[in-house]
């Protein structure tokens, strides 16, 4: 999948180069500078996520969910989703496994949706970008989206 991005970026770069070499050089300088600025933050984020994920592993989550259900399980799912960072190519199969092992749809929905949209670990970085108020409001809107998802999924599945 990443290959597509390399092809598109390469194509754009080539088109830009053919049209205006000077501008392209400027664009690349800009890309490099903002990449380096972001890299420091990203490495910090990745280390932070590594630490959290070493304490909250996929196994721990499966155990905690196990046969849980009801509101407690839903809140647990939301909570764990909020604080953990799991790449989606691991998270979705994990969600499917949880369902197979008897977890309810609302619990898994809350967990996955919060995992994707709410980021406590990435909050410091989000604040760097958008300021405290906007970052917190955006995360709150993601919590609301998760809750609505839970309620509807709980009603139909």
């Amino acid at each position: 999948m990443n290959g597509v991005f390399y092809v598109v970026a390469g194509g754009m770069l080539l088109a830009s180069f053919l049209k205006d070499k000077k501008k392209t050089r400027k664009a690349l300088m800009k890309a490099y500078k903002s990449f380096m600025k972001n890299l420091k933050m990203l490495v910090g984020m990745m280390v932070l996520m590594g630490v959290v994920f070493s304490l909250v592993s996929a196994d721990t989550i499966s155990q905690l969910f196990g046969q849980e259900s009801g509101l407690y399980g839903i809140l647990l799912g939301l909570g764990i989703g909020t604080v953990s960072f799991i790449p989606s190519f691991i998270a979705f199969p994990l969600g499917a496994t949880l369902l197979e092992n008897g977890a309810g749809y609302p619990q898994v929905a809350g967990f996955l949706s919060a995992l994707m949209g709410v980021g406590i670990v990435s909050l410091p970085m989000e604040i760097e970008y958008f300021g405290k108020k906007a970052a917190i409001l955006r995360n709150l809107s993601a919590v609301l989206a998760s809750i609505l998802f839970i309620v509807i999924i709980g009603g139909i599945l």
Partner: protein, 178 residues
């Protein structure tokens, strides 16, 4: 010195936590390092093309164009563009932040920027197909529809809630990370 500490706050906090973890439990410390490296391997690959695209768009897309299509009076087109941009993204939400900063710098409406971030977390195409395969069509469709519903309204409410000085701060921050 203090300037250096301030600029690298996040990195320093993360590294000291990791060092602390190593002290308490070397085993966990190793797991954490391994996690960080594999996180970085999966995210790191997508960064170079994304930043090259950001750099090119920054140079080639005039501010007026962004204002016209995603700015204050862009209406439905702006919203649709925000969802489209979010859904063709790749990587976790943190990768979307620099893209969002580009949109803000170029004059996109904040509600559209938040809608873009929301779409990035819920309707990304590759993820969408993967989610469908793992958890089924009903689950995935409800996820996407409820998310879009909340993020369309949420984006508007967030923008309305932010004060004038909040918005100025956001613009300054977006220019700082360029």
């Amino acid at each position: 010195m203090i300037e250096f500490l301030k600029k690298n706050k996040l990195l320093l906090i993360a590294l000291s936590l990791l060092a602390f973890l190593y002290l308490v439990s070397p085993e966990k410390g190793q797991v954490a390092t391994g996690n960080a490296l594999s996180n970085f391997a999966s995210v790191g690959m997508v960064l170079p093309p994304i930043f090259i695209m950001i750099g090119l768009l920054d140079i080639w897309v005039p501010k007026e164009v962004m204002v016209k299509y995603m700015g204050n009076r862009s209406g439905l087109v702006g919203g649709l563009l925000a969802v489209f941009l979010g859904s063709v993204g790749a990587g976790p939400l943190v990768v979307a932040f620099p893209v969002a900063a580009l949109l803000i710098r170029k004059g996109a409406k904040l509600s559209n920027v938040f809608l873009f971030l929301g779409a990035w977390t819920s309707v990304k195409l590759p993820i969408f197909m993967f989610e469908w395969a793992n958890l089924g069509g009903i689950f995935t469709s409800v996820h996407v529809l409820t998310s879009l519903f909340v993020y369309v309204i949420g984006g508007i409410i967030i923008e309305k809630t932010l004060s004038h000085s909040n918005k100025k701060e956001i613009l300054e921050r977006a220019q700082k990370v360029a």
